[in-house]
């Protein structure tokens, strides 16, 4: 798990020390070592935050807050679990709190789509699968529309969808990260998939009818 979280920050050479060694250094008083830990894990943390929030500033703030909380709670970290997994639990819980804090959750898609968004819906309806993959990377509206679809989910459902589909976590890993039972994770995943498919079908129909 820690391997997937390991990264190399652009423009700065990171040491090859394992996370646990850096943590020992931080706890031993070499607080600078935490900068290296943060630099190593920041890309992965920010990427995860971006899957929850389309607002870039919000994603960066949550990532930063996650590192601050990890730093202040580092003494409670136990080496039985990888640092990456421990840090991810902090990030996920912060994202969950923020999703719940927002409370405003559109049950249904609101129809005020911009012209590029409508165009993307039409593209999703007619383009070949290969073109869809290529074009989605180029178009910001594809990303925004995907966020709008995911915004219709309950926070719990969204957590499960992102952790399962994007982070490739197993049901038991999600249950451990969120502190839920495995049955609850399975039910949430099932409901989330159903709800998401329903909304995506509606969006696709909009693209067909416009």
């Amino acid at each position: 798990m820690s391997g997937r979280w390991a990264g190399r920050r652009a423009g700065r050479r990171l040491s090859d020390k394992p996370d646990e060694e850096l943590i020992t250094e931080v706890l031993g008083g070499h607080t600078d070592a935490f900068s290296e830990l943060a630099a190593r894990h920041r890309p992965r943390v920010e990427r995860l935050c971006r899957r929850f929030f389309s607002d870039e500033e919000m994603s960066r703030d949550i990532a930063q807050e996650s590192f601050i909380r990890a730093y202040t709670a580092l003494a409670t970290y136990r080496a039985e679990m990888p640092f990456g997994g421990w840090l991810r639990a902090i990030v996920v819980n912060l994202c969950y709190d923020e999703l719940r804090r927002r409370r405003r959750r559109p049950e249904e898609l609101v129809g005020d789509f911009s012209a590029p968004e409508v165009q993307w819906m039409q593209t999703a309806h007619v383009a070949s699968p290969e073109d869809l993959v290529g074009e989605a990377e180029e178009r910001r509206e594809a990303y925004d529309l995907a966020h709008r679809l995911l915004d219709t989910l309950k926070p719990e459902d969204r957590m499960v969808m992102v952790l399962k589909e994007s982070e490739d976590l197993s049901v038991s890993e999600i249950a451990e990260t969120l502190g839920w039972s495995e049955a609850k994770v399975k039910i949430r995943a099932f409901r989330a998939r159903q709800a998401l498919r329903k909304q995506a079908e509606r969006m696709l129909a909009m693209g067909r009818n416009r």
Binding site: R9, E46, D61, A136
Partner: protein, 152 residues
Amino acid sequence: MNCFEARQEFPALWRKTATAERRSELLAHLKGCEKCDHAFRVFALTAPVLYGKMEQQASQVSRPARREFSLADRPSRFAQASREVSRPNRWLPMAAAAAIFVFATSAAYLSARAPRDSFGDELSAPETSMTSDTTSDPLAPEMPVTESDLAS
């Protein structure tokens, strides 16, 4: 490739991690299967967030250069949130309001009970409606009907 296998490959196609062989098999399947083609289009609407690399969107936004980690860089929204935590629990006044509401509702209900439940009605109620301890007890054995009961 059958439909189930094809749908399992959607994420790999999106992430471009599928082998060339699997990719061409999947594309051929999508061309010939209307249901899977539709399913892929539905999948494609959420895929940019769920399966995208998520780096490109960040690069499209102008952002300041990253600095070293510092505790002083705490986002302001979380500084406010931590202050909120130290406030008294906001559930207390809500619980108090709920208790007052329940009390007021009960009082209103008791004061507006049906007239037959008033003390005067209770006194003037016919004797037949008065029940003994045994008849009011649902577990008490049913008494047999006697001839004198039928006569009355």
